[in-house]
Subunit: 235 residues, 2 copies
């Protein structure tokens, strides 16, 4: 609580910081699915040893943000259409309940936080920073789970949001705009009103909208992955 003038060199978990940095880069679509994540490379970037990098990568692998192939290395995960569908099915199962619970528990302070999130989303979109906008949009859902005060389900939702970011990177159809902030605004309104039924229903339809903005028939082909595709002969 007192002054902390300079230099808290490594106050907290370094591994977590590396994992967070990588996760953020993935969420903001700075790292495309399929990208190789070499241990030495990352270690040099963050000035940490491979030990730390490996721990961070394993942590990300557990939430399926990266895929680790033994003796091959870590790659940014590349969800298949099947996985993409499963992710949104799971969200459809969990999040409406969470929205309902949030509506019944949200404090005025929580409402402020949510509104602030939306404002930031708008700002990012206006600035043309789609990556940041997408990340904030996801964090909105995570914030909802926090308000719902369901830690266990909240963690599941966190991983689903993270994977959703990858799904969107791969399968988003350009025709549909990222105009979801309106849906978020309506959600906040119903939550502020304590209208549980409406919140649940809005979340359900919001997820349906998101899902219908995906084109899961397309192949998960990114420019960068061409080479990977060519070696998909074996298994």
């Amino acid at each position: 609580m007192s002054a902390m003038p300079i230099s808290t060199p490594k106050p907290q978990d370094v591994t977590q910081k590396v994992a967070d940095a990588l996760a953020l880069a993935i969420h903001e679509h700075r790292l495309a699915p399929g990208t190789k994540l070499g241990e030495d490379e990352i270690g040099e970037i963050y000035n940490v040893s491979r030990t730390v990098v490996r721990a961070a990568l394993q942590s990300l692998a557990h939430v399926q943000l990266v895929e680790i192939q033994r003796n091959k290395g870590a790659f940014v995960a590349s969800p298949t259409p099947r996985e993409a569908r499963e992710v949104f099915e799971a969200r459809a199962l969990l999040e409406p309940r969470t929205a309902r619970s949030a509506a019944s528990r949200a404090t005025p302070h929580d409402i402020e936080i949510l509104k602030d999130h939306i404002a930031q989303e708008h700002a990012a979109m206006d600035a043309g920073d789609n990556g940041r906008a997408l990340n904030l949009s996801g964090r909105f859902h995570i914030e909802l789970a926090r308000i719902a005060d369901q830690d266990t389900i909240g963690r599941f939702i966190e991983t689903l949001i993270a994977r959703s970011s990858l799904v969107i990177a791969l399968y988003w159809r350009r025709e549909s705009a990222l105009c979801e902030s309106h849906a978020h605004h309506a959600l906040v309104q119903s939550i502020a009103d304590g209208d549980e039924q409406n919140a649940e229903e809005l979340m359900r339809s919001h997820l349906v909208d998101l899902n219908s903005a995906l084109d899961l028939r397309d192949r998960p082909v990114q420019a960068q992955n061409l080479r990977e595709l060519l070696q998909t002969t074996a298994e």
Copy 2:
């Protein structure tokens, strides 16, 4: 592709094997909640280095089977009553849907596997090996998720089953018997019949039964944890 007569010394992931061994010990209640899991100690037991042990422990920490406190070490997780309630809430949300899906997709071979599981459960119970019976009972639910062919939700369920084992270790009331194999048998019957509605409903009531066999008002006190309780003054 040719013969592989003997000795594939370390064919697969060593870390995973250590993690599995520890998880099994926890599931079978051989390791009580709160038990300290020293890195050197485990490393000696399995003849691996601390590097491997640390990776295994972090893996288990991610599914909340163990809790890692920085600079303190790893301990078998000790779910609070709140966490226990959340775990079963989440299961109630996910598993009925899974049971329904399993009923619609199960092949005759799947039915065989499920019946075999139940037989093993019976055998373990008859042998008085409650730990093994409990573990098998959990794996029954995981097998259901596999049959339902929902990998994403299946992974969530796996972690919930794992934590359920800890919850049961802490909060199971002795009065109620472990007579769930009957419920499992009825479930398999409805799944074999392809009766989705019935399967979903049976799973729902099965989870309610399980939940009502817990006494969440009790403190998470185990003999071994006495010392830990005494140092719970701070926080």
